[in-house]
């Protein structure tokens, strides 16, 4: 693995243009001041109550995601490319899902193997032959992007189910504006504060045709024990819509209502942050106490829009991911603007034998895994771990894909010893409405705080940064 590309200092140590102002400022500011601001930020976050439940850590169900005060900066032209790539990819994903639950041309053309779709637990046969409002499936996508050099961005994951993190994007900016007004005065940073407006416009645009002129929109949460609950309540608040739990909704005559102090009120659009499995105990997991019995009947009758649609998981599986460049070409007839990380599909014999021979250099991921769990990072693993993983991989090659260990780009980050480069990724949020696609500039930058670590997931010691896209 070669040395990583640093977004501020490049590979040659020369400050890159977008960072010139910031680098100058960082050079002058006393180290104590930065540490002081870091503590202030932490205090602000804690008071606001941004909390994050980490699975398997019963003793601390509420924990703060560390915030780094040094912003990550993208130049206008860099962002423009990423943005066009995201639009293209999201369009293709929506066409793909429509096709999978419709004519299945992509399967007939042999682009994607059938078993990858039909044997996938997130494939929803209930959606076969169903039309969804306005033919949109993925209204909100959180597409993870990494960078390896000045010109190359890779898509790492297409999160097309219930992506989270946007509240951190908004809060990070809010905190930065409070702590560093001076820095903002020296930069032309594109705003992100309009995200809630854009989201609301998107949700309003996709109400069922039968809905009233002023559609009633709600956000459906699994409740306060969900790790992203803070975000759910934060968004509902910013959108000015009700935050509902399953028990607040009731289905009568294929119409969804919410229980209010004035009786039942019809609901038209549900921004749901609850997985397919738990959505409707009558259709999916019967033991789900979080869902709404009968909501699928109202959905399939076209009386309510669910965002995202049911069954979008068929597009964000790590095995399907490897076919995404072909999928983009198939539906749009265009070359993908954003590349995929080169990926070996362990389901294919030649790929598997390559992966088995090179385990110590590869990252091997579970096809259905998420949150950075259950993966092998070859270069960081010891012999024992690699051998254990080899057995796992041989038992179920279809369950895994492998990728080269990427030298993710780094950004200067404040650690106890001062400023040091740390690896980052980027999760922009792509909103697809009936009228158009909306993306606020930037997204959520996640940073691996441990020296040399490539794992940015907040559940494994990752932090976040404010992301600045500079106006040209």
């Amino acid at each position: 693995m070669s040395a990583a590309f640093d977004e501020m200092n490049g590979k040659d140590g020369l400050t890159r243009a977008a960072y010139r102002e910031l680098a100058g400022w960082l050079g002058k500011v006393p180290p104590d001041t930065l540490q002081q601001r870091r503590r202030e930020a932490e205090l602000l976050f804690r008071r606001i109550g941004i909390t994050f439940a980490v699975y398997g850590e019963a003793e601390s169900t509420e924990r703060l995601i560390p915030f780094d005060v040094v912003p990550r900066i993208l130049a206008a032209n860099e962002w423009e490319t990423v943005k066009r790539g995201l639009e293209q990819r999201t369009k293709a994903i929506n066409l793909y899902i429509k096709d999978i639950y419709g004519k299945r041309e992509v399967l007939r053309a042999g682009i994607v193997p059938e078993d990858l779709v039909f044997q996938n637990p997130v494939f929803r046969p209930e959606m076969n032959g169903q039309r969804v409002p306005h033919d949109i499936y993925v209204f909100i996508a959180g597409i993870d992007i990494v960078r390896v050099d000045a010109d190359t961005f890779y898509v790492l994951e297409d999160n097309t189910r219930t992506p989270s993190g946007v509240s951190y994007m908004l809060e990070n900016r809010e905190i930065m504006l409070r702590l560093f007004p001076d820095l903002f005065a020296r930069h032309r940073v594109a705003p992100v504060e309009n995200y809630p407006d854009e989201l609301l416009a998107t949700l309003r645009s996709v109400a069922p045709v039968s809905a009233a002129a002023e559609p009633t929109i709600v956000l459906l949460t699994p409740g306060i024990y969900n790790s992203a609950y803070y975000e759910h309540s934060f968004l509902a608040d910013k959108l000015g819509i009700e935050l509902v739990e399953g028990r607040d909704l009731i289905v009568k005559g294929e119409v969804v209502y919410m229980r209010t102090t004035e009786g039942l009120k019809r609901v038209d659009v549900i921004y749901r942050r609850i997985d397919d499995d738990f959505l409707d105990p009558l259709s999916f997991r019967p033991d789900s106490a979080l869902g709404v019995p009968g909501i699928m009947s109202a959905y399939l009758a076209g009386n309510v829009t669910l965002t995202n649609a049911v069954g979008t998981g068929v597009a964000d599986d790590k095995a399907v991911y490897s076919y995404m460049p072909e999928i983009v070409k198939f539906y749009l007839g265009e070359e993908p603007i954003l590349k995929n990380v080169p990926t070996w599909r362990c389901r294919e014999v030649e790929h598997l034998s390559y992966v088995l021979d090179n385990l110590s250099e590869l990252v091997v991921k579970e096809v259905h895994g998420s949150g950075g769990y259950g993966m092998l990072i070859g270069p960081k693993a010891d012999k024992l771990a690699i051998e254990a993983f080899r057995e796992k991989l041989k038992r179920d090659p279809r369950g895994f894909i492998a990728q080269p260990t990427l030298a993710l780009s780094t950004v200067p980050t404040l650690v106890d010893e001062g400023l040091a480069p740390r690896h980052v990724d980027l999760r922009p949020f792509v909103l697809t409405g009936r009228d158009r696609i909306r993306i606020v500039p930037g997204g959520l930058t996640r940073v691996a705080l441990k020296s040399g670590s490539l794992v940015v997931n907040s559940s494994q010691g990752g932090g976040t940064k404010d992301t600045w896209v500079l106006d040209s």
Binding site: R47, G49, S233, L243, E245, R259, T261, E262
Partner: protein, 313 residues
């Protein structure tokens, strides 16, 4: 608004109010227990505190004897007592978290800040002085929350349900003090007073923060029947039954107007209020103070049930 949100707003306010009340009881009891026993004290003030807090049964299933240590622990810190100050703030914050969107920043800050402080406290303060500081802190936290709600909330149904919670809890608390201490408040001919009574009466007034108010209203030394009048019928006194019901009627009417619909809760609240407005202490003493308070408590519980049925389910 969502019924569940209204329910959370209502209980959030109730639990904060209850925490404050418990702190006042404990403060008054601490003072009372410090009165020299040469005055002939025989009653166990700590036992009486548990009764006033309305959790005697739960207490005695956990502890054999009511004394300073067991009672302060049970009423203030015990996680096993669902109505301890600690539990009240825990439940209040859980409710606040569920309705984070219905709260203003200031309210969330107040309740979340209180909860965070409480986490640092561990199993409770080490000394009496620290405990006294803690009790004052609890009252200040409640004042801060209540003041934030009063000063920052939109005047809509969300606010009114939160106010209903405050006044339902307050009416219940005042009634419970009266229920436990009624024998100290009987009219002159039945009253056999010793020097200890003065401290008892002052303690009752203190637990509803009305000692100074008493002097301003009646301009004379403490008389038990006047104390009863102040706590029950005087609507200038913020914790009196009459005042609580004036507010309950007002806020229920606000809700009814906003929803263009009157219901059983409005009618029942008006009935109870009218009864308080039309009552005179002499008559209440004649027909029986204890019976009157008992009747009020069950009326108040009935109003709680009606509000729940009408709006919160």
């Amino acid at each position: 608004m969502l019924s569940r949100t209204a329910d959370n707003m209502y209980w959030l306010a109730r639990y904060v109010e209850r925490a404050e009340y418990l702190a006042r009881i404990l403060e008054a009891t601490q003072r009372l227990a410090a009165v020299p026993t040469s005055a002939g004290a025989t009653t166990n003030e700590w036992e009486s505190a548990v009764a006033t807090a309305g959790c005697a049964a739960a207490f005695f299933s956990a502890h054999k004897a009511a004394n300073e240590q067991t009672v302060t622990d049970f009423l203030a810190f015990s996680p096993d007592n669902p109505s301890s100050i600690r539990s009240c703030f825990e439940v209040a914050r859980a409710n606040a978290r569920s309705v984070r969107t219905a709260l203003t920043m200031e309210m969330w800050d107040a309740i979340n800040g209180t909860w965070l402080e409480l986490q640092k406290l561990g199993s409770g303060p080490a000394s009496r002085e620290q405990f006294a500081t803690f009790l004052r802190w609890v009252q200040e936290s409640s004042l801060r929350f209540d003041g934030s709600a009063y000063r920052t909330m939109l005047r809509n149904d969300s606010y009114w349900f939160s106010r209903l919670g405050v006044f339902m809890e307050r009416a219940d608390n005042t009634a419970r003090i009266l229920d436990v201490k009624y024998h100290l408040l009987l009219p002159p001919q039945e009253h056999v007073g010793g020097p200890l009574d003065y401290f008892q009466w002052a303690a009752i007034l203190r637990s509803v923060s009305a000692l100074t108010a008493y002097h301003w209203v009646y301009r004379q030394s403490l008389k038990p029947w006047l104390i009863a009048d102040l706590l029950m019928l005087n609507d200038q006194m913020p914790r009196s039954l009459a005042s609580c019901y004036a507010h309950l009627v007002e806020h229920l009417d606000n809700i009814a107007r906003a929803y263009s619909r009157q219901g059983p809760a409005q009618r029942h609240a008006r009935l109870v209020r009218t009864r308080l407005v039309n009552s005179r202490m002499e008559e209440i003493f004649k027909t029986g103070l204890h019976e009157f308070i008992g009747g009020f408590i069950s009326d108040n519980n009935r109003l709680g049930a009606l509000i729940t049925e009408q709006y919160l389910l």
